[in-house]
């Protein structure tokens, strides 16, 4: 591998890592703040991809579709929280796993009824459709750079929200000591609803942004779910900063593993996870 190629592979790793981060951020937030294990997180990613497919056809523009879809996903998240998840915060993790595992099946069936089982494509918007030539026969799609940009913006936004705003302060306080926060007059139920909707929206937006390059197909959520959990576990459950570092790490290991050690590339990420857990059983950044 020459130096130029090495740099391109680094770019690939970072780009993949950032997308993983965006997916895992919602999962780790929901677990960290409310203590809910949400196996249905991958379904929100799938929902996003299908929304992007339908809405971009309806509006004729992916940008509008993403804005509309993001709004819809917040409403959907709030409704889901109010109907189901709210009643499971204090329950055993096993109950939560059963609930969210069931939801995966329900979402898949609904998806099948609404959209069928075909594979669909979502066109890349014209202004992002170009590719930048890197070597004589390899170019880099502008859309992938755009995706990375959106992920970075969201990472910064999340950081600011949680560590610099009043809402963020309440969220952190609620995660730290629920009863104390509540007795100080903070509406913890509302905070939880907001965090849950935010988590759902993050996964849905990730699905919408990824749709043009990943295509839209049944069961696409379950594929990313496992990677999400790996990222969350490596990063330390509940830590957004940990999720970012872990996602970039997983991106690096996955990309270079595929190229340098193709025979065991499927295992490498999990070996990384095992190694991290041996070294730091609580993950890289414990909350």
């Amino acid at each position: 591998m020459d130096f130029a190629n090495f740099l391109i592979q680094i770019l690939n790793s970072v780009q993949y890592g950032l997308l993983l981060f965006m997916l895992a951020a919602g999962l780790t937030l929901i677990f960290g703040i409310m203590g809910v294990v949400n196996l249905a997180h991958g379904s929100f990613y799938m929902l996003g991809a299908y929304l992007a497919f339908s809405l971009s056809g309806l509006f004729g523009s992916l940008t509008l579709a993403i804005l509309g879809g993001a709004a819809l996903s917040v409403v959907f998240g709030l409704a889901l929280e109010w109907l189901l998840f709210r009643h499971f915060y204090q329950r055993d993790h096993l109950d939560q796993v059963l609930l969210t595992f069931g939801l995966i099946y329900i979402f898949e069936e609904v998806r099948s009824m609404l959209w069928g089982d075909d594979v669909h494509g979502v066109p890349i918007p014209d202004f992002l459709g170009a590719s930048i030539p890197l070597t004589e026969n390899l170019s880099y799609p502008v859309y992938r750079l755009f995706m990375s940009g959106v992920c970075i913006a969201l990472a910064i936004g999340l950081y600011l929200l949680i560590s610099k705003t009043r809402l963020g302060m309440k969220i952190r306080a609620g995660a730290f000591n629920r009863d104390m926060t509540e007795s100080l007059g903070v509406n913890i139920k509302l905070i939880h609803a907001i965090v849950f909707a935010l988590g759902v929206a993050l996964a849905t937006v990730a699905g919408m942004i990824a749709a043009p390059i990943s295509s839209v197909y049944p069961n696409m959520g379950s594929q990313v779910l496992i990677m999400c959990f790996v990222v969350v576990v490596i990063g330390g459950i509940g830590s957004v900063r940990g999720a970012l570092i872990a996602a970039l790490l997983v991106g690096l290991v996955d990309t270079f593993g595929k190229v340098l050690l193709p025979q065991i590339s499927g295992m490498l990420v999990y070996m990384l996870m095992a190694a991290v857990l041996l070294w730091k059983p609580e993950g890289l950044f414990k909350q």
Binding site: S112, V119, S131, L138, P141, R144, I213, D254, K258, V259
Partner: protein, 396 residues
Amino acid sequence: MSNSRRLVLSRSATLIAAASTGLLMPEIVRAQGAKVRVGLMLPYTGTFAQLGVAIENGVRMAINEQGGKLGGREIEWFKVDDESDPSKGVENATKLVQRDKVDVLIGTVHSGVQMGILKVARDTGVLSIIPNAGVHAATRALCAPNVFRTSFTNSQPTLALGKVLMDKGLKKAVWITWKYAAGDEAFEGFKESYTKAGGTIVKELGLPFPNVEFQALLTEIAALKPDVVVCFFAGGGAAKFIRDYAAAGLKGKIPLYGSGFLTEGVLDAAGPAAEGIVTTMHYSDSLDTPRNKQFRLAYAKEFKSQPDVYAVQGYDTGLLLVQGANAVKGDFNAKPALYKAMEGAVIDSPRGKWTLSKAHNPVQDIYLRVVENKENKVIGVAAKALSDSGAGCKMG
């Protein structure tokens, strides 16, 4: 909870034990004139649901065209959704054979599930027809007199690729696929035909199934600069690979070839990125023969949807079954005569006439197709009457 779980466990253990020792052999004696019991074990939910429906449509259409009976007997249908779940393969097949006592078991799509059916078919001796799954073992090391396949083996399409590439002067190839049974078997066919024709495989790239993060490998391909890239992908992953390949700027610089499943059912999703991809397969929707046109028209009329390769395979399954049943006048217990008739059958399929090899796999033409205007246009026959080796198959 633990009680009922134990009950389930012990029950299934008994079932498996009974099945494997052949305790529950299907009844040998059955009154003639009663209905033929036809079992369909296909995916009706999940990713492959549409394939299951297409296959069933094909089977029914073929039988209805021949009078709706098998050797003069009416049909009773039994259906099981196999969910494409390999862990339930043996259980579901056993249900059809033991509980429903089917005379013939048609199924399935997923190769892993097929291995379960294969086990039950070999243990009980029930007639089994495979309408899709391409796993080699079914017509190689684990072949059996009562197991027939009307589709393909995983290496059949790629066996036709090697010569085509060398004729075009594409001497250095990179192979890329998912690392799982179907991908490995497709590679086997490609490697055999390409190296035999004098080509060199520069590098074999792979990623775990069903991972779709191709970017790292595309970067690697660009650095290797081969004459041609050859691949095996299918479904959603195939659409993504095609789009990523074009977005990485490789399209138009390094031609992309593959096993035909790369461009089946994904051309709308892949869009313009798919134009110009050349593949090999035993069928194409646009095959320009009177037989295919007539089939497509009739199918569209009856089911209000366009048939695909899976519908054709189901249709051929029906044709094969009718030929066998008619030869023995519906007596499914006359096994030697039934199998002999099926072995000798010539199937007048929409894909072209085909016969069965000694190992019970189709000997068929493999077409060369190029994607043009979102259609797999046939540009020739890549290999005439191509047969799978059937290596390791010992019948009887």
